[in-house]
Amino acid sequence: MSEATPLLELASVRAGYGHAEVLHDIDLTVGEGELVAVIGANGAGKSTLLKTIVGLVPVRSGTIAYRGARVATPRPERLVRKGLALVPEGRLLFGPMTVRDNLELGAYGAGRERRAVTTRALARVNELFPVLEERADQPAETLSGGEQQMLAVGRALMSEPRLLLLDEPSLGLAPLVIAEIFSALDELRAQGVTILLVEQDARLALRHADRGSVMRTGRVVLEGPAADLLADESVRTIYLGAWHQEGS
């Protein structure tokens, strides 16, 4: 473990919807420059975890610290200005708007520096996903699933995040497209972006991660270096369990 303060730190976090508590006592740290993967089956609470970090789901107890400072009430519109961006489950694109509009909106939080940030970030996104430049004037809802996922990642990158949260970027995509997206994630890491990745496809996620956490019914049941988790017998069981559920 490094001595430096982690970029993101959750301690005993509880959260949920209405009367139901979904996350019980979550501890999680993400260090600067790391790629951390959170894996788990359907309904384990992975999406809820990411939504809680950005403030789309309220924290009930416990603390979240980002860049060493406690975030008392997380709000997505504020956190994105501080370099924390989420690529949400289901992509949540602005469907009727063009690809370019979607991307430019990604830099909305930059405020007065919007113009400069837009130019700089757009160049980076177009380099990472050249297809988005070709599709610039097309409504986002007319893109293929893979292109939509690239746009969702691209939109989040437009805020020039320091910490990128991704919710199942591989979901429903063909292997080639998945490979393209994950190689983009590797490239982003090389550029210094810290990544917290949620995936059902444990093998895929752990192959790209430094560390991993396994979630089950709202708790972290196992964590450690990604390589160790890949070799772990119980992870294989969970992974296969998830596979069966998906296949049924």
């Binding site: 789309l56 994105v80 694109l93 602005f94 909305y108 939080g109």
Partner: protein, 290 residues
């Protein structure tokens, strides 16, 4: 022929007013998924405030701008005080709150402005223009000009500015808008302010022709709502078309059949549209094209 043209002019005059009201319904619907039944009261407030400001000695153009700005501010306050506290609730609850809010605004207007009908001077004095056997009052030209200006300004705001794009994005997907840094709550406040301002503009523009009073909001609200529904609520362009169409339908029904039919047209339009395509009209805000 000249009779037809006269009906056409009258229809497009009222239709422009309905279009502005319908735009107000549309903007709030896009932002909240709810119908703002206080929209007609903003029309009333615009006219009444403008009359009151001229009473205080303000020149008409200043009074008109002040009345529109004040009504927009009242719209924003209305959202913050009445709608914001229940934000995230079902649209139905927001609708109930706007109905209650309309009653409150009307009673406040009665209290401050009194029960009398008030008149506003025309924006420009002068005889009606005559062409092809039709007379067009100068105030009608003002109504058309101001409506066109408002529609163009709104289109530019939505299409060409980052702020307008953010408003559209919020209407399409509120959570995603927040994720890119848009203050979604503020966008709803702005939507109410814009809707109120448009309603006030209509109220100011038409006051020299019709007189105004504290109670004129409800009737115009129904007309504007029918126009918005006719245009398939949620789309500003078709809302304007819906307003113009309703104005024309009324004018021709009254002209060629019986003047008594005029006010019934809006209700017939509402019923017919709701029967024929209710799901298309009460579609979710997610499908809104702004």
């Amino acid at each position: 022929m000249s009779e037809f043209l006269q009906f056409l002019v009258a229809g497009l005059k009222n239709g422009s007013i309905y279009a502005l009201i319908a735009l107000g319904f549309t903007i709030v619907y896009a932002a909240t998924g709810a119908i703002n039944f206080a929209q007609g009261e903003f029309f009333m407030l615009g006219g009444m405030l403008c009359v009151s400001f001229t009473d205080l000695g303000m020149p008409l153009p200043v009074a008109a701008v002040a009345a529109i700005a004040a009504t927009a501010a009242i719209g924003a306050a209305f959202e913050l005080l009445a709608v914001r506290p229940i934000a995230g609730d079902s649209p139905l609850r927001i609708i109930m709150v706007t109905i209650g809010g309309a009653v409150v605004l009307r009673q406040l207007a009665l209290h401050f402005f009194g029960p009398d009908e008030r008149a506003l001077a025309p924006f420009t004095e002068g005889a009606s223009l005559k062409a092809f056997g039709v007379a067009v009052e100068l105030q009608t030209l003002w109504i058309w000009g101001l409506t066109a200006l408002a529609v163009v300004a709104l289109a530019l705001l939505y299409r060409k500015t980052a702020f307008g794009r953010a408003m559209r994005a919020t209407a399409i997907r509120r959570d995603a808008a927040r994720l890119v840094g848009i203050n979604a709550g503020m966008m709803v406040t702005v939507a109410f302010a814009l809707a109120a301002g448009l309603g006030a503009l209509a109220g100011v523009a038409v006051a020299p022709l019709t007189q105004t009073a504290f109670g004129v909001g409800a009737a115009i609200g129904v007309k504007g709502f029918a126009a918005a529904i006719l245009g398939g609520i949620g789309n500003p362009i078709t809302a304007v078309a819906g307003g113009l169409l309703l104005g024309l339908l009324e004018s021709f029904a009254a002209g060629y059949f019986d003047p008594a039919y005029k006010d019934g047209v809006a209700l017939v339009v509402l019923l017919v549209v709701l029967f024929v395509a209710p799901q298309g009209l009460l579609a979710k805000a997610g499908r809104v094209k702004v």
